[in-house]
Symmetry: C3
Subunit: 343 residues, 3 copies
């Protein structure tokens, strides 16, 4: 067999490191496509002039371009045969990625646990993305449920990693040189600074975007994520293509500009759940809740911990979960992240 | 409220200047997308070698990339709540925009007039786009009809600006250094020069393009134009998304290559009307009429004033308007502009 | 008539050279779009770091970007009125194309043969693509069937060029400096080297992609290929747009990564047939057969001759042709090419 059949549960051993294939040079083409695919408007990733006014040499690529690229490389080795993507934790963005940088990705297995049915198991990995200089640009942990290839394979010793509920504010990496002390709120599109947001505050981001097949496929291919469920309409009985969860993350994050225009960069993802699948024709809306606030050492820079929820209906006012604790059917995404903002 | 609710009629005061948010660095990614979204073939915006043969240092970005970017920035402040986009006038392109340039946009209110119904009014603005050096790259006037937020707000003093029917040929800005004296008609794709066109001549551009939802949304987002009618299929009762009028302008202008291949650059827009809305599934065709001709001071460069009409049917031979003076229902666009051409 | 009506059979004379219009600067935007439109993952065209590890100064543009661009320029002069694209032969890639290069294209007529019906004829051309330095980057021969404009025009003297069944291995151009002696199979995504493939071996590339209207139009426009059948849904009675054959070539070649990840560059196309038309909604799959193997002078570089077949069904196991020798209806593409691979 010369084709990649993907890995199964018993192919993962705690401590193993898997170097993912196909490093990728990202540049102004990827940025333009990102801005065509999503309503991306945060000024720091839009204009060199704005970024230079914030102490950076040029406009960095949107953080989620980095996330999708590093994540996409891991798909053939980690989640090609995944029954479910169960969660993310402890994602940190370590430094900006500039047009022309080349990203590579690798994962270390940090946990395995066979399910009691004997047919599947959960694998935890720690994935790291590096640039062409070998500098870490992003790392995160995620866990997936995988089938066993051989049901008779013995269960491995259970190792469940300890994961933080949230990245501690003190360990957030604010990009070197970032300085919001002369921040231009007019150019950024909103007067609302870090001090204007209160823990518990909820923001409805107002706008909705109806999803098209062509768009989610363009996006998913751009990150070289090749899971066939996203592309092959014959793969499911209902003829629908499952949309890459990252497409919903980017859609929700960019919709959140309207209300969070100054939340310029994601610096950490604390947790994330793809609550329900998204399909073409769904109209995605988003709302955010302020979960926490923290100071940083960088000049004029505060951090805001946000819950970002995407729905496919108009249910922003309803509770996220039903009485049994299950996500309501129109909730698509429940993401918990840290962003940096001018104080 | 931290989200942008847009402005209403009574929020505009003659003489006020509004600095639009989110400057934008445009480059080779935006060019490639423009060429993927439209059948753009004018040689000057296609190849560095051709542009260098015309005295420019490199191939400038397509003029309409500049128009859409500068226009798109004004949408949240000017037309988010517009009932209608009523017209354009006196648009002039002042200098080329190069890959890597950063564009910013601002508008000054030059007219207000409350309608007799007391519920709406017309606002005229003068919008200017600048590059990162502060040089003016484009300015235009446009007027929109807006709702009043408070019907009891007093009517402002009426100010209606005087607008020219057309930009005077003497005030057209031919890009510094542009020289068509050694123009290569073979590389440009047509032997027909300025002297070959006669006032009154009509050209059917032959080809048609059927519009897709994914394409007009990609285009509109690329210019960071976020008016929700373009993206949210739940916004109208019929489930259709209204297509950004600029998408039709670009489609018609690029279709006009077939018959006007040497009309290399738009240098002014005299007037423009979006006669009827365009929806996905419409097949857009275009024809042009030569309205005027003028000489310029630049070597070998003539100017042609053109009417560019886009239709969604095959009605090029019919009159534009019915007996009551109303645009026929399949007319999408009626645009009046100046282009430069080799003499 | 200022619009291009295209050429007819009697407009071609053996020995004539037609310089195609609109040179084109290609760059990182075109690369990003190529990776969004197709599941392109060959590492050499993905990452500067990988290319530098193979002796090249940077990552070259995907070979098929070059093919489509050079081919697209020839469409208005060669195939605008084609009844059928009959075949390709003797295509050779001579040197890499780098971001920022400008491509131009010209064709010489090398054969004409009027059909016995007196209404149509076959024209053979030799098309060459050059970069801005005048260096040949690609040449190929193709032949098309064209209508006569004037049925009474006399038949020209028949000239049928001699075409090779395949480019001889000794005349393949391996890019200057390419060195696979320290090739990184992990970064490339597969351990299977040239020596692991055997003549006669067949590989099912597993994955399928369902085709969307928006995507094939974006692709086709990007190469400035303006044949109206690809864009105008009113052009056929069934309201379908015919998909540019090159879209299927790129889809199949990029799908072939899964099983041929180390077939890094196409260096020649020996033959190609678009067996049946492709339409939106079709799910494209691909398989390959190893036809031949050859050594090259470049360090560590072997050549593999491959048949690449695209189908719209799941018929990889069936014969390509029925008993009458006709391609089965679900075969889209039958392409014969040479690729280079690490030994």
């Amino acid at each position: 067999m010369k084709t990649n059949a993907g890995r199964f549960f018993e192919d993962y051993r705690v401590g193993d490191t898997i170097v993912h294939a196909i490093p990728r040079t990202v540049g102004s083409g990827e940025r333009a496509l990102y801005h065509a695919l999503y309503p991306a408007r945060h000024a720091l990733s839009s204009a060199d002039s704005f970024a230079q006014g914030c102490g950076l040499p040029a406009s960095p690529l949107d953080d989620l371009i980095v996330f999708h690229t590093v994540f996409g490389k891991s798909v053939p080795d980690i989640s090609l045969n995944a029954v479910a993507n169960l969660g993310y934790a402890e994602a940190r963005f370590h430094r900006p990625v500039w047009p022309g940088d080349t990203l590579a990705s690798r994962s270390t297995v940090i946990g395995v646990k066979q399910n009691s049915n004997g047919k599947t198991g959960v694998v935890w990995v720690h994935t790291e993305g590096h640039n062409q200089h070998g500098d870490l640009v992003l790392d995160f942990k995620r866990w997936v449920m995988l089938r066993k290839r051989d049901l008779d394979a013995p269960a491995p010793e259970t190792v469940v990693p300890e994961l933080s509920d949230a990245v501690a504010p003190g360990s957030l990496h604010v990009p070197h040189g970032l300085d919001f002390s002369r921040y231009d709120t007019v150019a950024a599109g909103s007067p609302h600074r870090w001090s204007d947001y209160e823990v518990g505050e909820k923001i409805d981001h107002v706008d909705g975007v109806t999803i098209e097949e062509a768009e989610h496929m363009l996006a998913t291919r751009l990150w070289q994520n090749t899971a066939k469920v996203h592309f092959d309409a014959t793969n499911r009985e209902d003829g629908r293509r499952l949309i890459y969860g990252g497409h919903v993350i980017s859609m929700a994050r960019t919709l959140s500009f309207n209300g969070l225009a100054n939340a310029q960069m994601m610096v950490a993802i604390n947790a994330g759940a793809h609550a329900n699948p998204c399909f073409a024709g769904d109209t995605v809306r988003a709302w955010s809740e302020v979960l926490d606030k923290a100071d940083t050492d960088a000049a004029g820079v505060g951090a805001l911990r946000l819950r970002l929820v995407a729905t496919k209906g108009d249910s922003g006012a309803l509770p996220l979960r039903d009485e049994a604790g299950k996500y309501r059917p129109d909730v698509l995404l429940d993401l918990d992240y840290w962003a940096v903002m001018p104080k």
